[in-house]
Assembly symmetry: C2
Homo-oligomer: 230 residues x 2
């Protein structure tokens, strides 16, 4: 009986980098479940689990399949209610969707122009073509032009976008309060995506937001910290 | 036995406008508690309840005094546990601090240059002097210059700042999930502040964020909607 998490990597299977897969890794670890992470490149996702999903993460819990990181967290909370909660109540579950909104529409949108070439460069050749085509369609211009026109401005503006987190950190060490919850892993996933693909974050070491990120990297025997950029 | 909420107004006591006081009004209404709201101008706050707090809201629950909107919500949750919950669990309580951070550092910071003269203009004369001096110190320049240099750009950028809310509204009608919680009242307070002082919001009527705001205005027999700009 095994729990398998299908996740995403480039040429190096030891460096899974998807923000959404990191959320699932942290959620499984939070629940204290044994699982095997199996990272694959973008172009191998459609063949996973007989074409179950176009995106990872995909969870296979002894034959039960779930895709989408938030759906996986909800599934784990329902299926393993006696293990540490990922939401601590219905309010926490609902507000985690707002944290997801902030993370995706503010942070990930800002990080993409900064790290898009770093992501491209760590992919195997056939993934590079897929990635370039799909992301250039989404971003509306060649990747090199996205970086040339937007990366420096986004880097400079990035620290300011974490002000909501810094305000919160005046009152408590985690989004979950005294200890982390799934909402922390949502935000962690975005910063870990940038860290693993590009090797750095546009934040200073003494920033309270970086200190929070450091605490998350240390969780679960340093599961996040052990994965570094090439 | 009476619950009194000291709040903030300009010359017209029927138009309380403080975002923080609106959070407390909505929290008391959510708990189904009878209370009397007593709005005063800025310069009368120091004399309230024998100088208890430099800021409103101040709650007087039969002699027990509490200031600060979040502290008031926590007090109500602890003191009236059998009435509808404002947080629905410890996770919701913790994440409401993040919503507070987003609302204050992103939304209120953006709205201030847009509405600062509207606020000034509805104040009694002695409040105008206090408001101008304290806000010009905070904003670093004359109010008229803040408006002239920043208001139009902030108006244009404002709809984009609600993207985290719009993402969330794809999944649920309120930050609290199926029904509103204190986190909704936090965000509501910021928009109600702009609506009551300036008469409008820099959002289009068919924006899902405006539809959410409309649902909040309708709560508690239209408590928020009954208060309009002069």
């Amino acid at each position: 009986m095994t729990i398998i998490l299908h996740s995403l990597c480039g040429t190096d299977t030891k460096r899974p980098f998807s923000p959404h897969c990191w959320k699932a890794v942290m959620a499984l670890s939070h629940k204290g479940l044994d699982f095997v992470e199996r990272p694959v490149p973008f172009t191998e996702i459609p063949a996973l689990e007989n074409g179950f999903s176009r995106t990872v993460p995909i969870l296979n819990d002894n034959g039960h399949l779930v895709s989408d990181s938030f759906a996986i967290a909800l599934y784990l909370e329902d299926t393993y209610p006696d293990r540490p909660s990922l939401f601590k109540g219905e309010g926490g579950k609902a507000m985690a969707r707002f944290v997801e909104g902030y993370t995706q529409t503010v942070l990930q949108a800002a990080l993409m122009p900064i790290i898009v070439m770093s992501i491209h460069d760590i992919l195997p050749e056939k993934d590079k073509a897929y990635f370039r085509e799909s992301r250039e369609a989404r971003l509306g211009r060649p990747l090199e032009e996205v970086v040339a026109t937007r990366a420096e401005a986004e880097k400079a503006a990035f620290p300011g976008k974490l002000e909501p987190l810094r305000h919160m950190l005046k009152f408590q060490p985690y989004l979950g309060g005294d200890s982390p919850l799934f909402a922390d892993y949502i935000l962690f996933g975005a910063l870990q995506w940038a860290r693993v693909t590009s090797g750095s974050l546009p934040l200073s070491a003494d920033d309270p937001a970086m200190e929070w990120f450091g605490r998350c990297l240390d969780l679960f025997e340093g599961r996040g910290r052990h994965v570094t950029a090439a």
